[in-house]
């Protein structure tokens, strides 16, 4: 026979039959909730046909009886009460009751706290960048403390291993650009300028920007997660206790690795972008590749390529600093790790685009 709970809500009677196991908890909880809603004058629990109780159900039953008594209603048990009731009596006093729910703060306090957080964040970021710079200056005197093997490893992981994805993305974007460009320019009979569009677009902006966005997603998140886990495992504290500076050992090699990798990746992206442009212009506007090269030569000036490439190391520094800084901010829980990794990627992409805008204005002003 299985556990059953019969209630007569009006009379306040509850009759339990057979063993009440943890799995029977929902049945019991339902019955008790029904009785509590009806709020009868007296509560009678008939256990004469009940069997053994698990602790969970026994606790629920007892809580219900105590609540009834607290509300000045009589509560009785017929038959043998569950053996665990004696265990509950023995339980140590829980001490202070559950802490009161903290009251919701007013909007002014929340606004102030948000401002404080933002300002604090900016100051921390500046401090982080500054400390990295100081570390770089101090370390640059000695090749050994520069940790070349570490730099090379990071340059390899963030650069060489990213070549396939960066190449494919640059190729595809150039194709899209050439396709749309050719379609629009044809209306004016100026298809030939598709070459200019692709060449200048890719070399000045898209090559480096897309590379930076890919690297922010790939490497920024990896840096944040790597350092975050190290932080959670107390590895960063262990480094410091060994007299090593985390900025020297962890941050600087990552920053320098990316500073090396980013320009190289940008060159790959530029080359693939121009190749994609060449393919599409040959197909769409029947331009022989020799003519494409000639057109390309006249389209770009001496500075076009450099205007893109010069931004690459700057973006690399921004991405690496954001990633390592957020990683080192992780404390306490795995949820923090996830949150800060996301923050690292989003902020890195934002900073890259913001810096790109500044570069655009600057180059315009100096006529670069």
């Amino acid at each position: 026979m299985a556990f059953a709970a019969e209630t007569d809500a009006a009379a306040g009677r509850l009759r339990l039959t057979d063993d009440c196991r943890m799995a029977d908890l929902p049945v019991l909880a339902d019955a008790l909730a029904g009785l509590r809603e009806a709020a009868p004058r007296e509560l009678q629990v008939d256990l004469t046909h009940a069997g053994e109780f698990d602790i969970g159900p026994a606790w629920l039953l007892r809580t219900a009886l105590e609540q009834a008594r607290a509300a000045d209603r009589s509560a009785r048990i017929e038959g043998q009460p569950p053996g665990h009731f004696a265990f509950f009596d023995e339980l140590p006093d829980p001490g202070a009751g559950a802490a009161a729910e903290s009251q919701a703060d007013s909007w002014l306090i929340r606004f102030g706290r948000a401002i404080d957080y933002r300002v604090g964040n900016s100051i921390t970021s500046l401090g982080f960048g500054g400390r990295t710079l100081v570390t770089a200056a101090r370390v640059s005197t000695s090749l050994r403390r520069l940790r070349l093997p570490s730099i090379v490893r990071h340059a390899y992981e963030t650069g060489v291993q990213a070549i396939p994805v960066v190449a494919v993305i640059a190729f595809l974007i150039a194709i899209i650009l050439a396709y749309i460009g050719a379609q629009q320019l044809r209306q004016f009979g100026a298809e030939i300028f598709t070459v200019d569009l692709v060449a200048i677009g890719v070399l000045r902006e898209l090559g480096v920007l897309l590379t930076a966005i890919m690297v922010a997603g790939r490497t920024g998140s990896a840096y944040a997660a790597e350092l975050g886990v190290m932080k959670l495992n107390d590895e960063v504290d262990a480094l410091e206790s060994l007299g090593l500076d985390p900025f020297e050992v962890l941050v600087l090699p990552r920053v320098l690795g990316l500073v090396i990798a980013m320009p190289l990746l940008t060159i790959v992206a530029d080359a693939m972008g121009l190749a994609g442009g060449a393919l599409l212009t040959t197909l769409l506007i029947d331009l022989p590749s020799a003519q494409y090269l000639a057109r390309l030569d006249s389209a770009i000036s001496d500075t076009t390529f450099w205007a893109g490439l010069i931004k690459a190391p700057v973006f690399g520094v921004l991405i690496a600093l954001t990633g390592t800084m957020r990683g080192l901010q992780v404390r306490e829980s795995s949820r923090e790790l996830g949150r800060l990794t996301t923050v690292a990627v989003v902020q890195a992409i934002f900073l890259v685009i913001f810096a790109d805008a500044l570069f655009a204005i600057f180059f315009l002003e100096i006529d670069f």
Binding site: L25, P26, A29, L91, P94, A96, E332, S333
Partner: protein, 257 residues
């Protein structure tokens, strides 16, 4: 005494390396059963075998008279609900609060009202002797001793009949460790639990365990602690009569209480 777990001729191998070569013992209802052994002697492998997380290469493990290896997946899950397990590091879910950690196993098993969950959290916290304001805290805010207690509370969440504790007192200070010993003894007495614990803590071993299994030479020697201590095996002599073991023997031990 009725056997809850019966391990018969269990052989565990990893490639050519034999970890267990014919291990047999029984764990009786209501006892606290300790497992000791040197590093690499296969304590965790044995624990995993008993939990059904690993099938032995030969031999069998029976829980409540049923063979684990011949069980359906559904049956196995059913029997795992009757286990409670604590892990060495606590293994609390760090992104969940203590209350959520304690509610998770119940909520996965059944659908209940919020106030019922809250009431059960209160019960489990009181069972392991923690103040109720612990419920709102996160694992990172707890001390080592509290983490072990919350882990125990989570293991008790589904009212298990069988409790596995992996190094329950490792990393605790002596006061917290002996408090934990008392807690384990108290819960065993009050709830009729059967407890299997892997431990290196000689104090815990002598204070709580009724019988002890020593893993040596890929086999197992099971007996009460005083008789194990008289065993002439060199490793066992070194273990119990080394500098650390002397203290316990001198105190006479509390075994068999």
């Amino acid at each position: 005494m009725e056997a809850v777990i019966r391990v018969r001729d269990v052989v565990n191998r990893f490639g050519a390396q034999v970890v267990h070569d014919g291990v047999s013992f029984e764990v009786c209802r209501g006892e606290i059963f300790g497992i000791v052994g040197g590093s690499g002697s296969g304590k965790s492998v044995l624990l995993r075998t008993m939990l059904g997380l690993r099938y032995p290469d030969s031999g069998s493990v029976e829980v409540e008279g049923r063979d684990l290896s011949s069980m359906h997946r559904e049956e196995l899950r059913e029997i795992k609900r009757r286990y409670g397990v604590t892990f060495q590091q606590g293994a609390l879910f760090s992104s969940l609060s203590v209350a959520e950690n304690l509610t998770l196993p119940v909520a996965e098993a059944m659908d209940l009202e919020e106030d019922v969950y809250a009431s059960l959290v209160e019960l489990r916290l009181r069972m392991v002797g923690l103040p109720l304001d612990t419920a709102a805290k996160f694992p990172a805010q707890l001390s080592g001793g509290m983490v072990k207690r919350v882990a125990l509370a989570r293991a008790l969440a589904l009212d298990p009949v069988l409790l596995f504790l992996d190094e329950p007192t490792a990393g605790l200070d002596p006061i917290a460790a002996s408090e934990f010993d008392e807690l384990v003894l108290y819960l065993r007495r009050a709830l009729d639990l059967t407890i299997v614990m892997v431990t290196h803590d000689l104090d815990t071993l002598s204070r709580t365990c009724d019988r002890v299994a020593v893993l040596v030479d890929r086999r197992v020697i099971v007996d009460t602690l005083p008789r194990i201590q008289k065993n002439e095996h060199p490793w066992i002599r070194e273990y119990f009569h080394g500098p650390r073991g002397q203290r316990i023997s001198a105190a006479g031990g509390h075994v068999g209480a």
